[in-house]
Symmetry: D2
Subunit: 351 residues, 4 copies
Amino acid sequence: MADPNPPQTFALGSPRVLVAGATGFAGALAAHLLWRHPGFELAGVTGRSEVGRRLDELYPRYRVPLEIQRLDLDGLAIDRDTGGRLAAAVVAYPHAAAAQTVGALRELDVRVVDLSADFRLSSLATYEQWYGPHPRPDLLDQAAYGLSELHRAQIAQAGIVANPGCYPTAAVLGLAPLARAGLIADVVIDAKQGISGAGRTFDETTHLSMAGENILAYNVASHRHTPEIEEQLGLLGAGMPVQFQAHLVPLDQGELASCYVTPTRTVAAAELDELYEAAYASEPFVEVVDTPPGTREVRETNFCRVFAAADGHTGKVVVLSAIDNLWKGTSSQAVQNLNLMFGLPETEGLA
Amino acid sequence: MADPNPPQTFALGSPRVLVAGATGFAGALAAHLLWRHPGFELAGVTGRSEVGRRLDELYPRYRVPLEIQRLDLDGLAIDRDTGGRLAAAVVAYPHAAAAQTVGALRELDVRVVDLSADFRLSSLATYEQWYGPHPRPDLLDQAAYGLSELHRAQIAQAGIVANPGCYPTAAVLGLAPLARAGLIADVVIDAKQGISGAGRTFDETTHLSMAGENILAYNVASHRHTPEIEEQLGLLGAGMPVQFQAHLVPLDQGELASCYVTPTRTVAAAELDELYEAAYASEPFVEVVDTPPGTREVRETNFCRVFAAADGHTGKVVVLSAIDNLWKGTSSQAVQNLNLMFGLPETEGLA
Amino acid sequence: MADPNPPQTFALGSPRVLVAGATGFAGALAAHLLWRHPGFELAGVTGRSEVGRRLDELYPRYRVPLEIQRLDLDGLAIDRDTGGRLAAAVVAYPHAAAAQTVGALRELDVRVVDLSADFRLSSLATYEQWYGPHPRPDLLDQAAYGLSELHRAQIAQAGIVANPGCYPTAAVLGLAPLARAGLIADVVIDAKQGISGAGRTFDETTHLSMAGENILAYNVASHRHTPEIEEQLGLLGAGMPVQFQAHLVPLDQGELASCYVTPTRTVAAAELDELYEAAYASEPFVEVVDTPPGTREVRETNFCRVFAAADGHTGKVVVLSAIDNLWKGTSSQAVQNLNLMFGLPETEGLA
Amino acid sequence: MADPNPPQTFALGSPRVLVAGATGFAGALAAHLLWRHPGFELAGVTGRSEVGRRLDELYPRYRVPLEIQRLDLDGLAIDRDTGGRLAAAVVAYPHAAAAQTVGALRELDVRVVDLSADFRLSSLATYEQWYGPHPRPDLLDQAAYGLSELHRAQIAQAGIVANPGCYPTAAVLGLAPLARAGLIADVVIDAKQGISGAGRTFDETTHLSMAGENILAYNVASHRHTPEIEEQLGLLGAGMPVQFQAHLVPLDQGELASCYVTPTRTVAAAELDELYEAAYASEPFVEVVDTPPGTREVRETNFCRVFAAADGHTGKVVVLSAIDNLWKGTSSQAVQNLNLMFGLPETEGLA
């Protein structure tokens, strides 16, 4: 009888990938996706806590039957020299904690998808303005920004792929066609996200009896995803300060970015449609839809659904962009980037 | 032994108030609030369906042990002439259906708080642009707009009080201090609301297995609360098209309006604080808070919590305004208005 | 203009009541109910953490504008001797931690409603079997079991009222009529409760992304509410081991005890109806209903709704008992007990 | 670039399967599972409403891009005669409505997995006692009961597979080892289920503002899954009336059956462990676990997790059985049965 939960199967010679920081929501999901991925071998899962427990005890649904280990850089060095080389790692550490580990892995010639913010901003000055001193500025020139749809070529070559924040993923995919066309004079981005966005954090923001039946704005006028959005829009030709506001709403996984664009000139509905269709016609994971997308439509997928409408009354353009914050917003996009980095079909393991 | 659910007690000679349309969420809550109100007698509850059932079967928590009746205008006429006059009615009918009933009640000299949109817009032209032909334009000059904090004097005298929409309540209370000070050059309002906002409607938008785990924008660039907000801001000196967008999120009761104001000039944090403190210092139901208000803080209350912050990075002003959509957004504001109409303390029955 | 959130008002000379441990869900709600209670003065709120913060920061909806203080037994002693005597305290501490504080308060002649399990079991042997050594067995004879409906006379006189566990409250109220009639040969109690039952605990059981979309049995065959139920049913004449099982389900407040009774003889539907009607006809807070009660019907009330049905197919009797675990299950029952202890109408402050 | 949502791919010559009644939750999920199944070709989806709409409009997450059609029995007859024969159908109709369609399909030599109750009871007398006259008693002898783990051989040969109710699936899998061992003298089954169990029904039981924050027992002492459980336990040697009670709790998908067994003799923990391990060691979809299983652990899987404990205090045995009511409880079990019927690996398409 077939086993519904077989040992990981992958092609012989598949790149070996480690997940460092697999006890958090993002790392655990990355491990799950890599475990069932036909093109990668999940080489191990590490954690800074819960060492010795199996990952499927912590996350039964993900069904990864591996023991959580401490990250052993010396062991990785020996492996490299004795033929069991690690090809890549997904690093799911908090900001600032990540950079040193990313550096150590790079010295072992391991390619890294970093889920933290440490390498997302190409401008060191901007980084230091929002985060303080950078732990490893010397590595910045190895990093590509991992919004797969916008930076495929750099991602394919990069030593470090800085996986985007979930809000920038939704917002920039929603706004890129307008930015590229030079149509954004000003923009307000109001984003809403489920409680999984707070991660495996145990406090007032995640307790069901406190987060339930609540709608809460946070980090008003100070969210660190702001410069990330600004830098990416700037690269597309829309350099300007962006008004970005995040909210927590009582669901598990899901994120909607509602974007209100003051255009540089009047934009007709038909032009808008053409612009978005053209931008995403060949993208496997971005779907332009003609009714407002609910986040439920993309739950537990790598899809981003984008809707754009011209408001004749105000002259503004409304763009709605829906993703699953843990999937396309974090871990499945990490896998999409690994596919790009290792020359696999971009959708492998994500369909 | 005392009865925890005693017959309604109210002062002798209290105005008698009917709730027409008590089977919906808004009407039922209005009946609940009036039943326990020491200054009004709940004269009856009517419905267009469920006639003969008791209201506390439909809404056990509200504990109003009255039978739902058909609205009997002839009977009300006899009552008027024989001493049992109805002083007021809360009409909780859908738009367009309300106006004729409001008219009939006015002919019996009954004062009305109308929960529909039929008398919210003073401009007939604007009404007809958004809603089509008005059923009773002749009654418009009897109507006051029932945002209690802004129109006390007119409400006190009015034959018809048009209870505001829930979104305009949150948005206009949030923006009024800036509007009055001439500080709004442009504004985007992104509002989120719980599923009770859809009312006792049984469809895809309210089914727990469809509305749950979802965030959904609706009525993009076409929500009928837009002209209502515009008219009220205009009266305060901020006439302009308003970008308003509504969303449903998976909770029961609660509403947050996130407002992004492009100011007419730079506004410093201290000035903003003073402006809001001054505007609401003597208001019993508006609280200016210094951290972002979660809707849970005001659940099942008539309070509105307002937070304002200047964003030094963008130059914009962010205003967050939280209410319970069914309470301050609808039914408890109706009671607040009845208090004003009948010279009772404004907070009576609402503390 | 009236203030919707006025300073606490109570009759002059009202008993002064302290809430010790007001930072948890149970203590905070008790403080809320006492603050608005016309017959008690809330003398203060204490906590073992959060000292110096105001309770309405932690629990905005409860609107108790008092600062959390450390419990100052010396100060209470001085107050006693100088005229400002504390009449009573609600102690909301964890098990074992409570008993010493209860003892210290008793030495100051303060009457106590203890929300912990320390004084719920009259049998010391049973206590020690389930909880280990008792910290203050000498106080046991001062304690009455605070299931208000069953022990009014003792509660009225007691120095210590041991407020029941939420599960025993629902289960025993549901089963008491059958127990008294000698009709219970065997019983299985399957109880379900919202996440607030876990209290202000921050872990896997309360995180919305873990507790949400989950149904979880806990403490299988070992829940400490079992002996409490057994002792109470035994006092009513139904002494036997009870199969009790608790579950967490994803809501905030609400609890349903589903009880499956193997009767000592066949019980007809009509007899069952009469038995329950007779048992609770004069009870202000227990309602016998003729359709299965949803917990939503009693949310944020002190009511218990009980439904009983004879199953002709199996011969068993099914009893459903619904309460709000934080209200009748904990804090509002504490107030009901305080009413009894101080000779106030039992429903005062709870309607 | 690879398409993440490619046309259905399946082996040439794969059996063609129709889903009749694909607009409901169960049919839609069956269509989803068959669409991505490598061993079947999804021949079409039919509905009694929504004809002409695409299934992925109604259920975006399921991503089945087929148009809903009316069931065309004449067309199926022509197909049969011209080489495009339908091999099987999943019929997702309400009870009583299903039998006639199942009959018509059988006349076309189409094998059927019927999701209704029409063929679940082998005893016509029992059926008629609980459901009324049977529409097609002549077909009963073609039917196998589709609890895959218990009736593999019959399912493999059957013309009609009566897919079990979700409650019997959880309960019987939980109790089978005890039943077979002759250890059940009496049993109480208390089951809890998410709102998806009510299906695509729009009423008070599914409205988020009514079903949310609620725990509700339904069909007290009268649930039609009772005889189904009794018949299956009887076949295993445990014939007796079963006390079964169903509850709705506020989540989407998930079901827990808590079973309280009075054993025929004392059962030790070690014996219990051995019994369950032996029973399910070689089952791909039943997992015996050593901590109480949360339904979240099996969400969107075909797994059933079973936990059994001996209660030394009462002498009873507590069994907890967790499934996803829409998956193993309905649609994925239908696919598991199709795999058995067509000689495919039992786990195909379900891993």
